[in-house]
Symmetry: C2
Subunit: 462 residues, 2 copies
Amino acid sequence: MKKYAHSLVLALAALSVPLSAQVPGGMYKYPAQQQADDALTGDKYAWDFVEGITTEVGPRQAGTEAEKRGREWAMNWLNKHGFENVADEPFMMNTWVPGEVHKAEIVSPFPQPLVVQPLGGTPSTGPDGITAEVVEFESVDALAEAPEGSLKGKIAYVTHAMAASQDGSHYGYFGGARFVGPGLASQKGAVAIVIKSIGTDEHRNPHTGIIRFPDGVDPIPAGALTLPDAANLERMFDRADGPITLKLTLTPRWIGETQSGNVVGEIVGRDPSLPPVLLACHIDSWWNAPGAFDDGAGCGIAAAAALNVSKAGQPLRTIRVLMAGAEEVGLHGSVAYSKAHIDEPIGVAYESDFGADRIWRFESNFRETNPDLHTKLAKSVARFGVANSTIVARGGADINIARDQNTAIIDLQQDGSRYFELHHTPDDTLDKIDPAQLRQNVAVWTQVTGILANYEGSIKGE
Amino acid sequence: MKKYAHSLVLALAALSVPLSAQVPGGMYKYPAQQQADDALTGDKYAWDFVEGITTEVGPRQAGTEAEKRGREWAMNWLNKHGFENVADEPFMMNTWVPGEVHKAEIVSPFPQPLVVQPLGGTPSTGPDGITAEVVEFESVDALAEAPEGSLKGKIAYVTHAMAASQDGSHYGYFGGARFVGPGLASQKGAVAIVIKSIGTDEHRNPHTGIIRFPDGVDPIPAGALTLPDAANLERMFDRADGPITLKLTLTPRWIGETQSGNVVGEIVGRDPSLPPVLLACHIDSWWNAPGAFDDGAGCGIAAAAALNVSKAGQPLRTIRVLMAGAEEVGLHGSVAYSKAHIDEPIGVAYESDFGADRIWRFESNFRETNPDLHTKLAKSVARFGVANSTIVARGGADINIARDQNTAIIDLQQDGSRYFELHHTPDDTLDKIDPAQLRQNVAVWTQVTGILANYEGSIKGE
């Protein structure tokens, strides 16, 4: 069976490649194949990037001086490694900072502190905090069904049943407690909301993340409890005879318009008239998180792939790396990049923004319009343990431009089983990265980028 | 081999037990054997205790109002479950509280916040903090070798190579960074010290713990960094060309004499003239830790064993449970208990104060003086996966009285492989307890206590 499959791969691959790509023995050699194989055992760049930015910069909240240092650090790194046209493309944004005081305490009947962090964009409780009865909801759906005005003067608490999932799908499904819970609670009259962190770990580090209130809905303070604290609060509801009173003190603030920026750098191709290959990630992290998994690793992977491909000889197309600013707080960098460059067609885009664990699935949005290329790419990374898929790639947060231009998109799906143990928490530190899995990412990215940056025709095939 | 071993057990056991303990079929039945077996699958008490105190009280720092609530909660629980002579035996102590501000930040060359907590008993830096160059020591031995005065005006940083160990021995060996590091640093002229937490986890929750300065040595502020933060600081030392400057702000304070207490309760025996069996644990925890592993579980295990034995009929000896106050900050409760009761002989003492993972080894201090009893006890718990040992039991923090009276001591050694992931950290929460392993603890304690509380002669055999 194995032999048969192998022969089939060779037969199919041979159908669509020029003779010049054949190597002695008849084995098809993909562009940058050797560099991909080398990266699997000896990555020189991705670890260096993520170790450097987490050590020398640390947390880099969007729109702040720390993010600016992160962008400068990244530009220095790109310049040092030979990228061309390195720049910080500025944009303005309305900036939120978390403030100093993040406290929650049960006032009665079981007085004790709980560990809380503000959700991104939440208003302040004021320094004296808000003290009110807590009302428990087993899901965001249950909150949605609460009668209008029923939470008047109360603090809503919303839990969920998120579990670890390889494809990360539990985040979208159970994340509603954060995405829409605060707006719903405000609409029902609540004075504040706390949620069980949208995460899967068992540590006392809350998961923050952006919230938005619908137009016309008054923003209310919103915090995330750690999972152990949420479990404790739920046990209190099981045990308490009367109301549970919580005091919540969060002092974030909006500081007005500040500058952020998108860091870009290029490996210039032999034919600059061809639309470039865009490799994306984001440079910012939450204030509480050094941003190793999210997304220092992603920037390291993207930059490493571009460099590795360049070692195989100047590619046909330009490879542009985009390290977007201000992703966490609302994709400001991705939106600004698309707006600034919408009239400059790109050939294909993909991003790394889901940690540093192994890539397990290949998806494109051109399987039907350019099946030969889709198949070739899928087969090229099978040796790294990556499966083909019929799912249509849609890309992620950092490549709005690809969706706006309706161009080719690839998703190199990473294993998200551990991702939501770390995502948007203080635990997103360098030590969580498995160097072997990081190298597999670089190998897959190098292989795919090697093929795409040397592809002559329309990548999407339309 | 298995059959042979089984026959040997029976033969040896039969040698030293009265005929009345023989049951049909010739199998020796230990006192409370059935209760021990039942506990293995259906503990009714230990989980209830530790869930209750962590949910309804939470952190209970020694000498504070929170510890008082913990003692009251425990007395209520003991009374509710039928213990007699339940009391809170008061003592006074000099009390330290952690204060509100616990911050560390790298000022240069890589500005960013680090996560820090004060070590127990540390003085304040004052609200404005201390800013100074950090000097790195790879071990407490290296710090000890630093020349006198060489740290004048500096902040010492001490790391270590502690790893997880089943017997917990790495704590004693590598814990010197905390136990004596602050005193040494002060003697060398340092203005403050930060250490890598004495722990084995990878989360951003520092491990606190008590420190003491030698007589005549000026106390200096002392903090613990999380392990990821310590690793980050060490990478900074590898990368920095010049000095690393740290700002440390810790605002703990001593609040003078306050009252703490030891909670006691008894299952009164048939012959109160016989010295009682003392089962110990401690009721306090650090301010940052709900104290599930350390030591809510231990109190639950001890209380459960006493109750289970009582279900087998009134024991010969009184079983006394001691839930010591103020253990974490210097064994104040254990010392006070010994002082108050030194003239009332106890028969044997043992404690549970090393988490809630399985018991794997049995030790006594009477293997040579009462070998029959030692062997009987060891064999009685072999079916729960506990091995015999020639190590001489010395007991732990909560049973000073047994050492002071030079009486019998048992150690039912728990698996400490996970203990220092949680010890003295915010992560010491109920969800970390494995109910199956907790039940094994209760089974072993029930079995051992059943035998000892019904033993007629001198337990130590001297």
